[in-house]
């Protein structure tokens, strides 16, 4: 059977002269307009009021044993992060949304319970040696 001609698409021009802010709020929604604050986006008060900059693939490593005062979630994080684990994996294993996990980790980073590794993916461009390493790694699969 001859397939019909595939539907035609039109390429779109890049519009990234000003890259969108990664934390842009939902469109047109000004803050402080009387709405109930969104719990998931509570900010930590360390360095200037920003949440810790955590990516889905930031690797988290425990620096301490769970202190007696730690919450069950903190204890679980510290156990899991005896070897490095990404924020995405923590979110999956804890069954908590990414936003909730970043709030949890922000507190733990501030308390020195965990360390975050890998700012490498946050740069604008992947660097060439990184691409080469990934290429070689995939070839070995």
């Amino acid at each position: 059977m001859n397939p019909p001609v595939p539907p035609q698409r039109r390429r779109r021009p890049a519009t990234r002269h000003q890259p969108p802010s990664p934390l842009a709020p939902a469109q047109g929604e000004a803050e402080g307009d009387g709405k109930i604050p969104e719990r998931l986006y509570v900010v930590a008060d360390s360095d200037g009021g920003d949440r810790a900059v955590l990516d889905l693939v930031t690797l988290i490593v425990a620096c301490a044993e769970p202190p007696p005062s730690s919450t069950p979630e903190q204890t679980a994080v510290l156990r899991m992060c005896r070897s490095p684990l990404s924020v995405a994996e923590l979110s999956a294993y804890l069954g908590l949304p990414f936003g909730v996990v970043t709030v949890l980790l922000t507190d733990m980073l501030a308390a020195g319970l965990v360390q975050a590794r890998a700012p490498i993916v946050r740069q604008a461009l992947p660097d060439r040696s990184l691409l080469e390493a990934v290429m070689h790694g995939l070839q070995r699969l």
Partner: protein, 206 residues
Amino acid sequence: MDYNGSDTVPGPRAEDHLPHTAQAAAKIVIVGGFGVGKTTMVGSVSEIKPLTTEETMTQAGIGVDDDFGSPSKTATTVAMDFGRIRISDELVLYLFGTPGQERFWFLWNRLFEGALGAVVLLDTRRIEVSYDVMGRLEERGVPFVVAVNTFPDAPRYPMAELRQALDLTPDIPILECDARRRASSRDVLLTLVRFLHALHLTGALT
């Protein structure tokens, strides 16, 4: 593992632990319409059993489904499947499969920030479900390759015809794959990374 009580402690299996030398992680995003095989592809190359992370966004319920009896707010939850490949003792690669529908685009800023690039997965029975997502990648300047998942009962188009229909620039790789097969999915990822490398060499990524 030491357990502190009778409940099973969540966490990776012993064999899924990363070495302490793991310093950095990179990510690649697999996008496409519903049911094109994103999760299958993630699962076939991942060295861990694919996991799911959720993202929730609460927003004013304007122009969105309002079936839940809430007149003012709608919570959208998106589940993303992901997998992991150990590239070296220091470097880990994560693969995220993400839905392409417009209502999930709130995820994209976070997902694509720092991502190496994307794989657009196509099902030739419903090619157009992936068109929006391709336009979105182009607008954002995210480099991508196109992988045609060859479902047995799907129409096969000559690649040249497909390339033309997709309005791809000549440099963008397009290839067929079987997302169920590890080697095939690996080849798709390799094609993407080689493409990124070539963009680098020609200075197109700067």
